[in-house]
Assembly symmetry: C2
Homo-oligomer: 186 residues x 2
C-alpha cells in the first residue's frame, strides 16, 4: 500500500517525525491528501485549504509543499474535517472530506470522530487498521472552483510603533495590535 508516494512504514514515520506522534487524524488526513493529489494530478502547482486547525494542517504540511509559513496552506478554524487542493492559477481543484454517512459502515471510525467512544475502549492500532482498510470508502470528494482566493494582502507600509518601537503594518492603525491591547503576555 502506497500513501502520498510512501510505503506505510515511511508514511507513519513522517507523521511521527513532524507531528510528534501518530494520531488518527493524521492517518485519515494523509489518505485525504493522497486522494486530492491523485485527482489534481502530478504537474499542478497547488495551494491548500484545511477547514480545521486540528491535525489536518499537519497532514498537508507533511505530504505537500504547502505550509503555513510559505503561504500555500490556509487554515480555517471551522472544525470541519475537510481539505482542498487547488491549482493556484486556475483556482480549480478538489475538496475531500470525511463523509459521516459512509463512515457508519466503519463504526470505530464513526464513533471516534463523533467522540462516542472512550479512548481506552478503542485501541489506536484497531482504529488505524480500520482507517487504512476503509481508505477512500469513508471519504467523499468534489471538484470545486475557489471563489474567494486567499491572496496575501500586500503590506502597504510599515510603521514603527510609538508604543513598543517594533515594526508593524501601517494598516493596523496608530499603534500595533499588542499596544492596542491585544497582547497575550506581560
Amino acid at each position: 500500500m502506497i500513501v502520498c508516494g510512501r510505503s506505510l512504514d515511511i508514511f507513519f514515520d513522517d507523521i511521527e517525525w513532524f507531528h510528534g506522534f501518530v494520531s488518527p487524524g493524521l492517518v485519515l488526513g494523509g489518505l485525504m491528501v493522497d486522494w486530492a493529489q491523485e485527482l489534481i494530478g502530478p504537474h499542478v502547482e497547488a495551494d491548500a485549504v484545511s477547514e480545521t486547525r486540528h491535525c489536518l494542517p499537519d497532514a498537508v504540511q507533511i505530504f505537500t509543499p504547502c505550509t503555513i509559513g510559505n503561504g500555500w496552506l490556509k487554515v480555517l478554524d471551522w472544525d470541519k474535517f475537510a481539505l482542498c487542493l487547488y491549482d493556484k492559477r486556475k483556482l480549480e481543484g478538489y475538496r475531500v472530506w470525511l463523509d459521516l454517512k459512509k463512515s457508519r459502515l466503519f463504526p470505530n471510525i464513526y464513533n471516534w470522530y463523533m467522540r462516542r467512544i472512550a479512548k481506552e475502549d478503542l485501541p489506536l492500532e484497531v482504529l488505524y487498521a480500520d482507517i487504512l482498510s476503509a481508505r477512500r470508502s469513508v471519504l467523499s470528494c468534489r471538484a470545486v472552483r475557489i471563489e474567494t482566493p486567499f491572496r496575501k494582502k500586500p503590506i502597504k507600509g510599515i510603521k514603527v510603533c510609538t508604543g513598543c518601537g517594533e515594526a508593524y503594518p501601517a494598516s493596523q492603525g496608530e499603534k500595533c495590535s499588542t499596544c492596542l491591547g491585544e497582547g497575550y503576555y506581560v
Copy 2:
C-alpha cells in the same frame, strides 16, 4: 556555527526541505528560535507563538516540536516579526523579536525588512551573510508570562449539518460555517 542544534549546511537544508526554498525570514527566524530555545533550556515542554503568518511559523515548525496541527504553535496574524517559546505548564517563557533599532547597524537587514530596497539590488547571499554575521545583535528578548493561554476550546458537541450533512461543532449554531455563507468554493 551551530543553529538549532544543526550545522549551517543542515540548517539551510532543513529550511529548504520543509519551506520549499530558503528565505531571509526563515534564516532570521531560525536564529530567533535558537535563542529562545537556549533561554528556555533543554528540558522544558514548550508551546510557541508566532506573531506573524509570514515565514516565522515555519521556522518554529522546523526547529521545535510545535506545529499548527498538534496545537503547540499558535499563529497570530499581526505581522510582527516576533515569537515566543514558553513552558506550557508554568506559562513562562521568552519572547524574541527583530529589534529595528539594533538592525540599523546592519543596513541590508534594516532595508530588507522595511522593504526599502528592491530585491534585485540585494543579492540573497549577501543578505544571508549579514543575517548570520549579525546573529543575535539584531534581536532582543524578554522574559514573559503568558496571560491569555491559547487553550483549545473543548468541542462540546458535534452536530450533523442539516445543510451539507457534514459534522461540525454544535457551538457554531444551527448550521455549519460553510452553509451559513462563509464558504470559499462553489
